[in-house]
């Protein structure tokens, strides 16, 4: 039987990433903190590559929260959580419950939350349908579901999803659809309107959504897009990130019932056996959660929203070939070839802008891209300037490319 072996996959990834590393585009070390600018290889860049969308990592409240926890508990509180956990966990989970409107369970990372939750939530006879571009950590977690039927669904194809639901519901099985709220490499949303309809139509359907890239900047108190659209459903579990825009550490699960929370807390492998988040970062996360609950937080979200709007207007004005028009802080500009994407990123870096080269295996071979992100770190006036520079590079390289092809 022809199969892509693990060895072959690793060899390919090793080669492809090695090429990108040789070009100085990945596996770099910073020479500065994250902020409006970043230092890489000794050079200062305007920062269009950070996932700290809300730019809270240097916020005085978060610094103070981390310092207070450090003062109170030292650098670590290293019991197994199976026996004893830091009291900061309880405070943080209470604050997250106020944000999400649901029972919430904190994990050491979003990936570890998936690794705990999915094997507990999904029963042996259930069926798991997973979006092909769901975050790698979700695919990793579904590999733990030995014996369970796991099928991939083409990205955001709700018609294909429905066909598969119809096919599997005949067997009376519970069906889980696993997806992202905001896809980290394409920057688009899940189709929440269609998912809501499918939930209403098929009582067997449950959703498990990784909303890591939507926390903080989207929704009331920063609860993200998944809970904003589907938070009232009893059949939806949402995983959140306390890193990225939240600027703390760890991940969290927002579950529909306390009973679900208890099951994952007791039975989730990484809840029992993995190390805890240490006190300074629990303190930072708690401070961040309190900031999210503050009535003034919406004004911070509006600042990012303004940058997204300005960027999207500039993108439309310059007809940049982007993967989606969804208004998220992740923008993928697509190219015909990996070489074209790579050389464009390099030229943008020469112009003093840090942005990311994105190619297979992070995205399909046919979608080599330049990925840039927007955050509150970005000066508002810098956003259209970045897009204009990018449009200029793209247009010039397109002309060069057309001439080269014509000469073949």
């Amino acid at each position: 039987m022809a199969k892509l072996t693990r060895e072959r996959k690793n060899q390919t990834v090793f080669r492809v990433l090695g090429e990108a590393q040789q070009h100085g585009l990945i596996l770099n070390r910073a020479g500065s903190a994250n902020g409006p600018e970043c230092v890489i290889g000794g050079r200062v860049y305007r920062n269009f590559g950070s996932c700290s969308y809300m730019a809270l990592e240097a916020h005085p409240a978060l610094r103070a929260g981390a310092a207070a926890a450090l003062e109170a508990y030292g650098t670590q509180f290293h019991f197994s959580r199976a026996y004893v956990e830091s009291p900061l966990y309880q405070e943080l989970e209470n604050a997250l419950e106020a944000i999400t409107g649901r029972p919430t369970l904190v994990a050491a990372s979003t990936t570890l939350a998936h690794l705990s939750a999915l094997p507990v939530l999904v029963q042996d006879d259930d069926v798991v349908l997973i979006d092909q571009f769901a975050h790698a950590s979700l695919h990793m977690a579904t590999e733990l579901l030995k014996g369970t039927i796991v099928e991939r669904v083409r990205h955001n194809r709700m018609d294909v999803l429905e066909d598969k639901i119809k096919a599997h519901r005949r067997s009376g099985r519970t069906i889980w659809y696993v997806c992202d709220g905001v896809y980290s490499m394409l920057g688009d949303f899940a189709d929440f309107a269609a998912l809501k309809e499918l939930l209403a139509r098929y009582p067997e359907l449950h959703l498990y959504i990784d909303d890591a890239h939507a926390v903080s900047w989207a929704g009331n108190h920063g609860r993200g897009v998944a809970l904003t659209h589907l938070g009232d459903s009893e059949r939806v579990v949402v995983a959140l990130s306390l890193n990225k825009a939240f600027s703390g550490a760890g991940g969290a699960l927002a579950v529909p019932h306390v009973g679900v929370r208890t099951r994952i807390r007791r039975c989730g492998g990484t809840m029992v056996f993995s190390g805890p988040i240490q006190p300074p970062m629990l303190g930072a996360s708690l401070a961040s959660a309190k900031l999210h609950l503050d009535p003034g937080f919406a004004a911070l979200q509006a600042e990012l929203e303004q940058r997204l709007r300005v960027a999207r207007e500039a993108i439309a004005r310059h007809h940049l070939p982007v993967a989606t028009t969804d208004s998220t802080p992740i923008v993928m500009v697509q190219f015909d070839s990996a070489e074209r994407a790579r050389s464009t990123v390099k030229e943008m870096m020469e112009r003093g802008y840090y942005c990311c080269f994105s190619s297979f295996p992070a995205v399909p071979i046919d979608r080599p891209s330049l990925r840039f992100t927007l955050s509150r770190h970005n000066d508002l006036a810098d956003v259209p300037r970045f897009v204009e520079n990018l449009a200029e590079v793209v247009a010039r390289r397109r002309e060069t490319s057309a001439v080269a092809v014509a000469a073949l």
Binding site: A2, K3, T12, D336, S337, V405
Partner: protein, 172 residues
């Protein structure tokens, strides 16, 4: 020396023209069936009709060589689509060298792969080596064998095809 003195020159030329047209149609069909747009996939049934049931498919990659039959190739391709390795795929022939003798033909076919027919440049290039066989009056693919252009394996089309009978740009 003529092997069959009952066949006239004109009949021989007519048969050769027929073969050339049939082979041309087969190669064009091969590129068509493996191409697909977003949400689609190759035309597996039509692909099967183009291959001999004894066919082998061989691909060289930097990580190793895959030796497959048609079913194995289709299984591997479906897995890569499931994994999201490709979401769309348009392959076109850019140059061909073709030799025939009796019921066998050998075709060297340079290709370009694009994400859409409108893409300005390809994301991959390479060469397909095809062995064709005449089975029950029809030309079929007996072997499809390819390698891709890489930094350490540049595709110098002119040098490669000028050594043989070059039919020019196949799609022009």
């Amino acid at each position: 020396m003529r092997l069959n003195s009952t066949v006239s020159d004109e009949e021989t030329r007519e048969a050769a023209r027929g073969d050339r047209a049939e082979i041309d149609a087969l190669i064009k069909a091969l590129y068509e069936v493996i191409s697909f747009d977003e949400g689609g996939e190759p035309d597996w049934r039509r692909m099967q009709a183009l291959f001999s049931r004894h066919a082998r498919i061989t691909r060289i990659t930097p990580e190793g060589t895959d030796y497959l039959d048609l079913a194995g190739f289709q299984e591997l391709a479906k897995e890569t689509f499931d994994l999201g390795v490709y979401t769309r795929f348009f392959e076109i022939e850019v140059l061909r060298d073709e030799r025939r003798f009796g019921g066998l033909a050998h075709v060297l076919s340079a290709y370009e792969t694009r994400h859409s027919p409108a893409a300005v440049e390809p994301f991959a290039r390479g060469v397909n080596s095809l062995q064709l066989i005449r089975e029950r009056g029809e030309w079929k693919v007996l072997s499809l064998f390819w390698d891709e252009e890489r930094d350490d394996n540049p595709l110098a089309l002119k040098a490669l095809f000028d050594r043989g009978e070059t039919n020019g740009k196949a799609n022009s």
